[in-house]
Symmetry: none
Subunit: 230 residues, 4 copies
DNA sequence: AATGAATGAGACTTCATTCAT
DNA sequence: GATGAATGAAGTCTCATTCAT
């Protein structure tokens, strides 16, 4: 089963749904490549630090140690750098095949491994996820981007659920798609709450990662009425 | 039991958590009250139409048919009108005691009624909820506002869960708070996805409201291992 | 001799050079008189506190506990209240005939009494003097007002000097007018520096009043080569 | 002796008391330097013409023939350009060592040369001095600037006076500092009155420069009881 | 390619003054 | 007379984007 987790999901390298176009052609010279890379890196730093809205192109250029005008050699504007940033991060934001849990067929173990992988990836890229959430609220283009990612993930989990239903492991009363939507959402909300909001406020008990994994997995398994008594 | 639902929940009229201050004093005269009300109404309309960030004070004033300067008689800026808008809407955004489901003690029925009430309120105020989500990404003050609301709700549901655990109706293995966080989040995510994102895109099957209620309720009940076989 | 001191000088009650017009007619009713008086008083307070430029009519009205609109019943604007404030204060700002130093003819004693009276009056109204200096830099009308006051004083002292020259008590080489300008200016500068600038900065040795009087008097007397060896 | 004259006095190039900071960094390119210089020049012109308070940044930009926004490339606001204007003028506002009156030790001659140098510098920069007086009434930062300048001058003259007292040339009864304050103030008042106020009003006898110098010098010398009978 | 100055549209605020009650 | 809300002109400042070197 592949009951991974919510909202983001691109384990397959495949053309990741051509999310964001690079209008500008890539630089020809070595020097150009270097500058462009510096800009993308700087952009990520500035975005994560100041937020997308409060960041200015001038800051990004300064951070990349190049002139404001140079920015436009590579990008048409803020949106486009952000696209580049996201594109570049996409790889790592995708949990790496959840370690396969080789050699088991136990649905619960698979589910747990899947959730763990998702949450680890989320944690690793928490600031970027926060950024994406913010941007999605503001730029339709990125709202669509986020939706597509979430949908891909949801569909995959829906297939997993349907499969389990077929095998008699999961409750047949629920619609696989709706259930996937709900449970995937549940996990992503928890991730956001733990790693994004958790970071903002200094106070409060930082959630224990293992407890997070096990709670989420247990609820998910129960919700689908996995057999067994855990 | 009071397993209401996610993110927002203020059936008790009690101190509406004095969320957002109205620095400017309220108008003395009838005329003033009328103008202020017109501004709040106009602000809500403009915010919901253009989004918080893309709206200009001038537009709000125009919508309220008053001079730009008049705005400042009542509010110090965008934030403050928004606070007023939210304050005014708070009442209705709170689902009204979920009808009590008088006469039953069936946890499942209570849960379902609670979820239905929550989702109805969410649907009724979908555009405002969308606005709140947007603003929370941008203005710390409103991020806190949203958090406080969610927390209040989560705590209430956590109490409900703990109660059910004590009565032997709910799985004792999960921490009530974490479970509440996860399940409440699940419902609010579904509400957002159905009523906010569902509205944006014309295409797609609009979710059936009843199916939403029953799915969410079933998953919630299962997750906590309510007894019985539904 | 009447070698009083600088910049301000209106001991004679006589129509004090019709300095500032009261366009608005004075109030008829008792209530009106009360309001007007309250406004003038409030204006002085606000002006002295916030400075002329940074004060707003709304503040004055509030301080006078009346509505903003009421202001215009009595004054055409800021300038006019200020005129009223100055008019009202004029009386006390004028040192009271310097006690005449009755019974002496000693020029030095007269001079000293005159300077003392001037400095006392200046000190008493320091904040208002500061205000006047400020306003004179900004409003031509009040620049002229200040000039006329200074001139009146200078002329008077010039007459005093001429008189002493005639009596052989003062150096005949200097032009009475120029000398008066210089010496009167000297005293007013000292007064400003001691009572206005001295107040602004907490630090520093506050000037000893008596030392101020005696220094100024001695220098003045010496400058005109009063006979005798003090 | 170095009984220069009043209020301003910086013949020594020494630390120009780092009066006003240029927060914005200076332009790198030649073009930038040109624009900045044009802005400073324009600012001086506009300030002297309209007064500090009534001048608008837009006017300055227009005068410098550049876009309004360009202003902010070099200055944070009105205050900062003014600082630049003052900084640039500082050099010339400082009378140049008063020609030294080489070869004489006659205190009177030195004093006269000093006063002449001061008054010439004042006259040369009369409009700027007027501006400074105005601004000092309005912006604390510049009030302090003016005070520091005056103080430097006063201290220098005080030293001169003390020196003369030691040499038996000046009256020992007066405190050097107070005397310096008074006499320095006397000269600056005369300068202001002659070159600033004298310009405003078309009418009136424009003061004869030489008479001004000699009167001021004579009174100063007398006040300190220089020996000799002039 | 890189630079960094120049541009200018546009949004925000303030407050003196007017005006309907 | 008094009230206090309404008005709207003016000025400030920000930055994405362009452009001459």
């Amino acid at each position: 089963m592949d009951t991974t987790a919510p909202e983001e999901n691109y384990s397959e390298k495949a053309p990741p749904m051509a999310p964001l176009s690079s209008l500008r052609e890539l630089p020809t010279t070595k020097r150009g490549a270097r500058t462009r890379a510096a800009l993308v890196k700087a952009a990520r730093k500035v975005f994560e630090r100041d937020g997308y809205l409060d960041s200015r192109l001038a800051d990004i250029a300064k951070e990349a140690q190049c002139a404001a005008g140079s920015f436009y050699t590579y990008f048409a504007g803020k949106e486009e750098v952000l696209a580049a940033v996201l594109l570049e991060a996409q790889e790592d934001m995708m949990h790496p095949g959840m370690g396969r849990v080789q050699g088991t067929d136990d649905p619960y173990a698979v589910l747990e491994a899947s959730n763990r992988a998702y949450l680890e990836a989320y944690k690793r890229n928490a600031r970027l996820m926060a950024l994406l959430e913010q941007v999605a609220q503001v730029e339709p283009e990125f709202r669509r981007f986020r939706s597509r990612r979430a949908d891909a993930f949801i569909h995959r989990n829906a297939r997993g659920i349907a499969d389990l239903q077929a095998r008699g492991v999961a409750d047949r009363e629920v619609d696989p798609m709706m259930a996937s939507r709900a449970l995937s959402g549940m996990v992503s909300v928890m991730a956001y709450s733990a790693f994004v909001r958790g970071e903002e406020q200094e106070e409060g008990t930082p959630v224990d990662f293992e407890e997070l994994v096990s709670t989420v997995t247990r609820l998910w398994a129960n919700a689908l009425r996995f057999p067994g008594h855990r």
